[in-house]
């Protein structure tokens, strides 16, 4: 680098004498700058060299975005319909992948056209890519830790239990808006159970059961399509291969 710089010093252009367009080029890369290579018209015009997106383009993008929104909603409804009609359960992973791919396509259109990144300075694209890399590392490595806590002892990982394995409900003194009250309400059980108990107390068992049926009666019990915690799910779910007993949930 600068070891041999002084040999070139004489040839270095003087920015003080440049036109504005030349100067812009020069600042972009002073070492590569050669005024004779600078053609008029490469850069811009009447002072503002920024891309003007045509209205047609914007409207087209809006149309595409709406189309993909409809598509993603449709795919999610279709999945439920397929499950109800054909007892065919698509694995969650596939759904996630489809929905996220569609969202990514939408995002690319927004970023490229609406946010002008297609015509923008490459540096801004670089900023975005580095950011996405950071996001990926953050989520990826954190999630990886969660999945790999039991290398030495089988029972070490995957044991996250509300209330803690050590104490469960007994010691939990969760308080509902405890602050500022003399006698905070202590919730001795899990939050869900506590809410249910209160409702049963309020309505009585029979009415509660009726209300519960009202809430959940209109749909089939949710199939337990869990990427289950004792073994990883492989391939499509049960009912594709074995139609004897539908794997219904307990609720």
């Amino acid at each position: 680098m600068s070891d041999h710089k002084h040999e070139h010093d004489a040839k270095r252009p003087d920015p003080a004498t440049m036109t504005e367009a030349e100067y812009r080029d020069y600042m972009a890369d002073p070492h590569a700058f050669h005024p004779e290579h600078h053609g008029a018209g490469e850069h811009a015009h009447d002072g503002e060299g920024h891309h003007v997106t045509s209205l047609f383009q914007l409207r087209a993008v809006l149309g595409i975005l709406i189309f993909f929104t409809v598509l993603t909603v449709a795919s999610s409804r279709a999945e439920i319909w397929v499950a109800d009609t054909f007892d065919l359960y698509i694995p969650t992973l596939v759904n996630v992948l489809i929905a996220m791919s569609i969202a990514t396509i939408k995002a690319v259109f927004v970023v490229a056209i609406f946010m002008h990144l297609k015509w923008d300075n490459r540096l801004n694209l670089l900023v975005l890519l580095f950011t996405l890399m950071g996001v990926g590392l953050f989520i990826g490595l954190t999630a990886m830790d969660l999945g790999n806590r039991k290398e030495f002892y089988d029972w070490k990982g995957d044991q996250i239990v509300a209330g803690g394995t050590g104490g469960s409900a007994g010691f939990v003194a969760l308080t509902r808006s405890a602050r500022g009250k003399d006698e905070p309400e202590v919730i001795p059980t899990s939050l869900v159970e506590h809410a249910r108990n209160r409702a049963i107390q309020k309505y009585g068992e029979a009415v509660f059961a009726e209300k519960l049926a009202q809430k959940h009666g209109h749909h089939d019990p949710m199939p337990a399509r869990t990427p289950n915690r004792s073994r990883a799910t492989e391939g499509l779910t049960a009912d594709l291969f074995d139609t004897t007993v539908p794997a219904g949930g307990d609720h």
Partner: protein
Amino acid sequence: MSTIQPTRGEIRTGPMLPHETVQKGHHWRTRDDEFDAGKLGMWLFLATELLLFSGLFCGYAVMRLLYPEAFANGSHYLDWRWGGLNTLVLLVSSYTMAAAIRHTQVGDRARAQMALIVTWLCALAFLLVKLFLEYIPKWSEGKRPGVLFDYPYAQHEMEPMWWSLYYASTGIHASHVIIGMGLIGWLIYRNAKGWYGPKNYLAMENIGLYWHIVDLIWIFLFPLLYLIH
């Protein structure tokens, strides 16, 4: 729709509008430099926004891996129609925002103003749907975050966690929408005064970028919360 003609190429008498007399900052060499710097700064800010939300997405991913059933149940509690409506509203507002910038670039101040107002109204519509059709009914049913949870018909132990993440992510997103409304309102005011034109629209461009990021995050939140189960 507008009686005011584009100003480009028009010979006009009278006082100069503010956007025609704007000078560069004293420490900039050219206005182009200033413009590029402003945009670069905005993109860096958008990077911080993405990373801010990445924390929520990370929490979502980890908790979903832990409690998939709770999250499946959770998405069933949300009505995809309202979410979808909000998605459309935000997409349209994103389009009008981009259009406003385009109109300003070609000097059509009146149409830009219309586009900005539509954008603002869309943001308002988004918030109204959010508040009156989502938050208030759900909250009053007892579907609340964390320890405030009081919904007796829950089907899974971890549903309070789902509501925590739902309220955290949509709430932080909604706060961005509110800030965006403030900024767009400011744009409308300044545009009415004639601050923006073909040579001076950096503020509009940057607020536009911000608004598109808000839209972008919703594009991901919508399927994650409403559709995947």
